[in-house]
């Protein structure tokens, strides 16, 4: 695990090469503070990161959900009970009281980095 501090005190953690994630798929990764993130590569080649823990079941599984879109909004469906989460905002599309955190993403030389405070 490689973590880099930048000026704004954001820690950038190296995740993997973009090519490691198939299109319309996700992977799980561990941040330095033990937080779990799910990083997705969408059909439109966007790289997006949200928390990996499904707030409905409490299981760390969102990276293993099916990636797609709802009315054009890129989302992932939790593999436990199928609620969908907006990959950009973290909002749950099926339960307005639920959401997951989102994380900034940077791609440099084909490698993905996820930022955390």
């Amino acid at each position: 695990m490689t973590a880099v501090m930048d000026a704004g005190a954001t820690v950038w953690t190296e995740i993997c090469a973009v090519s490691r994630i198939p299109i319309a798929c996700g992977v799980g990764a561990l941040l330095p503070d033990g937080e779990q993130v799910a990083i997705f590569r969408t059909t439109d080649e966007e790289i997006l990161a949200i928390g990996n823990i499904d707030p409905i079941s409490g299981a760390a599984v969102l990276s293993r959900g099916i990636v797609g879109d709802a009315d054009g909004v890129p989302c992932v469906a939790s593999p436990i009970y199928k609620e969908r989460f907006d990959l950009r905002s973290g909002a749950c599309l099926d339960d307005p009281d639920m959401s997951v955190p989102t994380y900034p993403v940077r791609v440099e030389a084909g490698v993905i980095y996820v930022g955390s405070a």
Binding site: C16, A24, C25, K82, R84, P101
Partner: protein, 845 residues
């Protein structure tokens, strides 16, 4: 203080009365005591002949007939009422039990009439009315086979019930004789023309018809029976079933001094009240204004009328007379008769189309100006019954001959449901009108066939009107949306056809050309399943985790294991037929021990190992594959298991090798992807220990081969599987299952199990049989070829993963920290095994 309602008789009509009273009597004003002669709660007597083959009385039991959880209903079985004292308002049973009543309903039904032929009471003579009667007939047939190696039977009476009894004998493996005094079969329902075609059709089914003659004498002859007919014929028989009509069981009413009808039956007015105002009579025993009705539908109407008076205080309803129209499938032959079938109306005219080649006879009876339909007879093909019967008494939409003409594109199909008036009865079993169904669609939000069935009861009786329900939905402007999701406007079946025709092999191409957007958790797995089902046929077979296909799969398919609530997986290796060697059992135990897995025996006769993390899965499977195990597909919408009982190899009662068959079937269909999971079982005898009738396809051994049952379901909406074919050999059995499974895979909706698929299939079981058994659509070769490809191309999915480093690399919790286990997963111990610590819901940022 509640009053007491005593119901004498727990047949179909008596049961309907209790249900109706309990539904209407919301205040609980009545305590209901049901006194029944038969030892079992109300069952489907109309379907009695289907008891043959299953020999399971439970399958005929009417829903709710033991009144569970209802404190206000008391059911006393096997204790007939023998005396009625209207002055004291008390009934007495055979066991001496006395019960007083405030209101009494006689629903004692009928007894079979046995003509006073000499010898009618010899051993070997039976009647056909109850489950016990059928058990006795079976015992006699079995005995005859043991003694002489064969069994010969005859039915005296060629009416509706006589032919049902003949079917029962035929299903027991006999080639029955039917003796009918009238010159034709079913003399009440059909005319001479229809009767002679009917005779020809049933004789083609191994039934010998002796019409226009009676039985003059039955004699005992060296342990068998000798029946002499009036025409000189002599028949050597082992058993004789009398089915020569029924007589009302009015003896209680007679001895109690109640008025009875001239031709028997308890005389009642049009509110079903007898000459004693506290006593009612309903069903076959009631003579409404002097007439008894031997069908169940009028009996149900009577039950509703009495229930409304007693429980709802509504005395307005009167018996409207009965529609004696009938549509039946007797010995597989369609017979329908409606309205004035015999043209007794003055001046009426008959229009007949008799097609000897097609084996159909159709007659319409019309008024003298040929415009009004009065009645008709249909034999051989009664598919037009549903549209014709509601038109009785109304103007025909065209020339009667053109309507009957087989080539008539403008014929009955063209009448359309729109032509029917609102008061036309669509479901005659439950008296549901077109207006009622339209109301349910328009006002009660019923937009699917299952909802309509649940809401109106239409189509829940004999089921013959189910095909009209989608048409009514459509005519009311309800477009039943079959679109898969927001990305595909097509149904799953349509997408299947598209993939088959275009040979598209990827989701991206399919959505580009036929859908929109990026896809979702609904369409992606559905398309993945279609691609997997069809791949061997179009020669595009590959692993379900190859390339893009991996990203379409639900997590279970993607990791070839079943995700549990804490994000870990369970592992289920295949144990074909539930048969496993001690060595393999030991391997499972060792693997579970080494990886710390919770173990449980599944309902499908295999072993489930719980609590594996993503990272552990390949290591666990390496051990399992090395020991000769393969994927059990517990994670897939695919064949799960074929359960079996131990069968003839060990069991004293088994008649076939059920384990061997289960192993063969499980190995044949393993890996087959389908719209939903598929479960199966094979039982080695009629005791059915493998519970095959709760499966998508279930097989029960018979002495001659196998019975195949299809579209059963356990789970939330249990459904007993229907008999598709009986006494077939192993080769035929497998051929039929091949066809059945492929037809289901091609036509079902996403996540539609076989049971609801059949419920929605237009034409139901009959249609399925036509397609699968009779090959009416000419697609069976194709279906069999597709299955052959599947069998040929099967490969174990886990072996495929272990051999491919790219696929193996995906089995990791953290891409940036391979090998690091997920720290949120933890276990505790319960009953000497580990179980997940339930996860708290974390704070939401």
């Amino acid at each position: 203080m509640s009053r007491t309602l005593v119901v004498v008789g727990n047949g179909m009509v008596g049961h309907r009365l209790v249900e109706a009273v309990r539904a209407e009597d919301t205040a609980g004003a009545w305590r209901v005591v049901v006194l029944a002669e038969e030892p079992r709660p109300a069952y489907d007597r109309v379907g009695l002949s289907s008891y043959v083959g299953t020999w399971d009385a439970d399958t005929l039991t009417l829903a709710g007939s033991s009144y569970p959880d209802d404190d206000l209903v008391e059911l006393r079985l096997g204790d007939a009422v023998v005396a009625l004292d209207p002055d004291r308002k008390v009934v007495t049973t055979a066991s001496g039990f006395e019960q007083d009543y405030d209101a009494l309903v006689l629903a004692t039904g009928s007894y079979p009439f046995v003509p006073p032929v000499p010898g009618h009471d010899l051993p070997g003579c039976f009647v056909y009315r109850t489950i016990d009667d059928l058990d006795a007939i079976k015992a006699a047939a079995d005995h005859a086979r043991e003694v002489t190696g064969r069994a010969a039977g005859a039915v005296i009476g060629g009416g509706l019930l006589g032919l049902e009894a003949a079917k029962a004998l035929r299903d027991m493996g006999m080639s029955p004789h039917v003796i009918e005094m009238a010159p034709r079969l079913m003399p009440i329902q059909v005319d001479d023309g229809g009767g002679s075609l009917l005779k020809r059709l049933v004789e083609g089914l191994d039934v010998t018809v002796h019409a226009g003659t009676s039985t003059s004498e039955i004699g005992a002859d060296r342990g068998r029976l000798l029946a002499k007919l009036g025409n000189g014929t002599e028949l050597d028989l082992d058993l004789i079933v009398f089915s020569a009509g029924i007589r009302p069981r009015d003896e209680l009413a007679r001895t109690a001094g109640l008025d009875v009808g001239e031709r028997g039956g308890v005389l009642v007015d049009d509110k079903c009240q007898t000459s004693d105002p506290s006593i009612y009579a309903i069903g076959e025993v009631a003579a409404v204004d002097g007439t008894c009705y031997g069908l169940v539908a009028p009996g149900y109407t009577m039950a509703e009328i009495v229930a409304a008076q007693l429980a709802a205080g509504n005395g307005d309803a009167t018996f409207p007379g009965a529609d004696m129209s009938t549509k039946l499938k007797l010995l597989g032959v369609d017979v329908a008769s409606f309205g004035d079938a015999h043209a007794t109306t003055e001046g009426s005219l008959e229009v007949v189309v008799n097609d000897a080649v097609a084996g159909t006879y159709k007659k319409l009876v019309v008024s003298d100006d040929t415009r009004t339909l009065l009645g008709g007879v249909l034999v051989g093909d009664a598919s037009e019954y549903n549209t014709l019967r509601p038109l009785v008494g109304r103007e025909l939409p065209g020339d009667p001959a053109a309507i009957l003409s087989p080539a008539g594109e403008s014929g009955i199909g063209g009448i359309g449901i729109e032509a029917l008036p609102d008061e036309a009865q669509i479901c005659s079993c439950n008296n549901v009108t077109k207006g009622r169904i339209k109301h349910a669609i328009g006002e009660e939000g019923c937009d699917t066939v299952p909802k309509l069935k649940a809401c109106t009861s239409a189509g829940t009786g004999c089921g013959s009107c189910v095909t009209m329900l989608p048409k009514l939905l459509k005519s009311c402007g309800v477009e039943v949306s079959k679109s898969l999701c927001e990305h595909f406007s097509q149904s799953r079946a349509e997408l299947f056809e598209i993939v088959a025709a275009t040979r598209i092999t990827t989701f991206s191409e399919l959505i580009d050309r036929y859908g929109k957007g990026a896809g979702c958790a609904i369409c992606k797995p559905a398309v993945a399943s279609i691609l997997a089902s069809i791949a061997p046929v179009i020669g595009a077979d590959k692993h379900i985790l190859d390339g893009e296909q991996a990203t379409l799969q639900d997590t279970n398919d993607r990791f070839l294991a079943n995700m549990q609530r804490n994000g870990t997986y369970s592992v289920v290796p295949r144990v074909p037929g539930g048969e496993i060697t001690p060595d393999k059992l030991i391997v499972l135990g060792e693997v579970a021990k080494d990886f710390g897995l919770y173990t449980k025996i599944t309902g499908g006769q295999r072993i489930d190992l719980f609590g594996a993390t993503v990272d552990q899965l390949p290591h666990i499977w390496k051990r399992l594959v090395d020991a000769g195990f393969e994927s059990g597909h517990a994670y897939g919408k695919a064949l799960r298991t074929v359960k079996s009982c131990v069968g003839s190899t060990w069991c004293r009662y088994g008649v076939q090798d059920s384990v061997g068959m289960a192993v063969e079937l499980e190995l044949r269909y393993r890996g087959l992807r389908s719209p939903h999971k598929l479960k199966s079982a094979v039982s080695g005898c009629a005791r059915e220990c493998a519970e095959a009738r709760s499966k998508d396809f279930g097989i029960i051994a018979t002495e001659k081969g196998w019975n195949l049952y299809v579209c059963g379901n356990g789970g939330m909406t249990p459904r007993h599987a229907d008999l598709l074919a009986s006494d077939v050999d192993s080769e035929t059995l497998i051929r039929l299952i091949d066809r059945f499974l492929m037809f289901y895979i091609r036509t079902a909706d996403r996540l539609q199990r076989t049971a609801p698929w059949l419920e929605e299939l237009a034409g139901g079981l009959d249609h399925l049989r036509e397609v699968i058994v009779d090959d009416k659509l000419g697609i069976c070769d194709d279906l069999e070829a597709a299955m052959a490809k599947h069998v040929e191309n099967y490969a174990d999915e886990w072996q495929g993963v272990l051999a491919d480093p790219d696929k193996l690399a995906r089995f990791t919790s953290f891409v940036n920290a391979p090998g690091m286990p997920d720290p949120t997963i933890s276990f505790r111990e319960e009953r000497q095994q580990k179980v997940p610590v339930l996860l708290g819901i974390p704070e939401v940022k």
